[in-house]
Amino acid sequence: MRKTFILRFGIIGIIALSPVACKKKLVTPVQKSADSQAPLLKSDQWQGTEDQIDPHMGKIKTLD
């Protein structure tokens, strides 16, 4: 009885831990790419992804 129990427990354990039953979650080490070494702008600088103008000058209006 005890041998059967241990055998069954072992089989279930192997199945549960096998790659078939449990595909590993993707874990990719975070590596810095060469691009990320490029010069960066400070967060308080103009990022160049939208217009900016001194408010007292007025507003920028796109014409084309």
């Binding site: 354990g13 790419s33 160049g48």
Partner: protein
């Protein structure tokens, strides 16, 4: 003893079932960010223009490359005869309007698939396709620094919004590259798989949404920060696909979509910064890293060239964060600010962007 054995058996089975989360076929994408509930700039229901960047089929998303070609993920298992809906059809509660005729390319390693399709009803007039494809990693800028990295977006059908929004627009930034994979902080989840990832600056196709680290409704799936590298999702980069894809090479020779012929599409947006120092107004201009020169055109000619009389070359100030910044040392006059004409060129001398603006005086 028998009761104890049964209890142990139940415990073992329960542990074996709950200890892992097998990836579901057709819904490989994981992880998302909850910020969209308060900040609609990262995720929102796609508008009438944005819906044209996607198509739906059996739990996945896809991107049309031309009226007869569709790109999606390999794990989405598109087959000949598969039925799809364009973004327009989904938005208008229409029927199936696309049918797959055949699979042209199917690559499990890079997890992409290209299929030939036909329309079962007239193609929507607003249907759009990417004008460019990234053929090299140098075409984009990635950065793990907060708020840095190329702005990109995908449009698709994430499971968490299936009952709330018809189609979901999601954007983020490219954080880093690793082999054929591009890691980004766009909030994508199961159902986004196969959707095109496009550069916001010029709608350049840069990848396909593929996977992440958590599944929809898995503990913590919507509690991640966009700045946490452990939460970043990924896609296959197009520069990894392009060299092995005869279809992409044919459709995008030199990276440009032949569907549009000679039609001009800007590669960069041109942004303007105007500051005052005392009574003088100074001009700064920003364009993408593809730019090599920016001209300030005379009023009579637009767009102008370097040879145009009166055209002024702006000085390159700095190249940083994937952008190039140009300045004019001379102060701007009032009449110049009334009609500012700017043209950006690449290294080969081709125009890649232009902008005409005026300063409307404050009231």
């Amino acid at each position: 003893m028998q009761a104890l054995t049964r209890l142990t058996w139940l415990l073992v089975i329960w542990i074996s079932v709950t200890s892992c989360h097998p990836l579901q076929q057709g819904s490989f994408l994981k992880d998302i960010y909850s910020a969209d509930e308060t900040d609609k700039s990262r995720r929102h229901e796609a508008n009438a223009l944005e819906i044209n960047w996607t198509a739906r089929f059996s739990g996945c998303s896809a991107l049309l490359l031309s009226p007869t070609l569709v790109l999606t993920a390999h794990h989405c298992k598109l087959k000949p005869g598969s039925k799809m809906q364009s973004g327009w059809s989904v938005l208008t509660d229409g029927k199936v309007d696309l049918v797959v005729d055949g699979i042209l390319e199917d690559n499990p390693t890079l997890d992409y698939m290209i299929a030939e399709i036909h329309w079962t009803s007239p193609m929507p007039s607003a249907q759009t396709f990417p004008p460019f494809i990234a053929t090299a990693s140098a075409d984009i800028f990635s950065s793990q620094v907060k708020d840095q990295g190329e702005r990109i977006f995908t449009v698709g059908f994430p499971d968490d919004k299936a009952k709330k929004w018809k189609i979901t627009y999601a954007e983020g930034q490219i954080k880093y590259l690793n082999g054929s994979k591009m890691f980004f902080n766009i909030g994508v989840i199961n159902g986004n798989s196969g959707g095109g990832v496009l550069r916001k600056e010029n709608n350049m196709l840069v990848g396909i949404a593929i996977g992440g680290t958590k599944a929809y409704q898995e503990a913590g799936w919507d509690q991640n920060s966009v700045d946490d590298s452990k939460s970043w999702n990924f896609g296959t980069a197009t520069w990894a696909i392009y060299p092995v894809s005869p279809v992409l090479k044919k459709q995008f020779p030199n990276g440009k979509n032949i569907y549009f012929g000679e039609t001009f599409f800007p590669k960069t947006r041109v942004y303007v910064s105007l500051k005052t120092e005392g009574t003088k107004a100074s001009l700064k201009v920003a364009a993408s890293h593809e730019s090599d020169m920016v001209l300030l055109c005379p009023k009579a000619v637009y767009p102008c060239s370097k040879a145009t009389s009166g055209a002024e070359v702006l000085e390159l100030d700095v190249a940083a964060s994937g952008r190039r910044f140009y300045t004019r040392s001379k102060a701007m006059s009032k009449s110049e600010l009334d009609d500012l004409r700017l043209v950006a060129f690449d290294k080969s001398g081709q125009i890649i962007g232009q902008r005409r603006v005026a300063v409307e005086a404050a009231k």
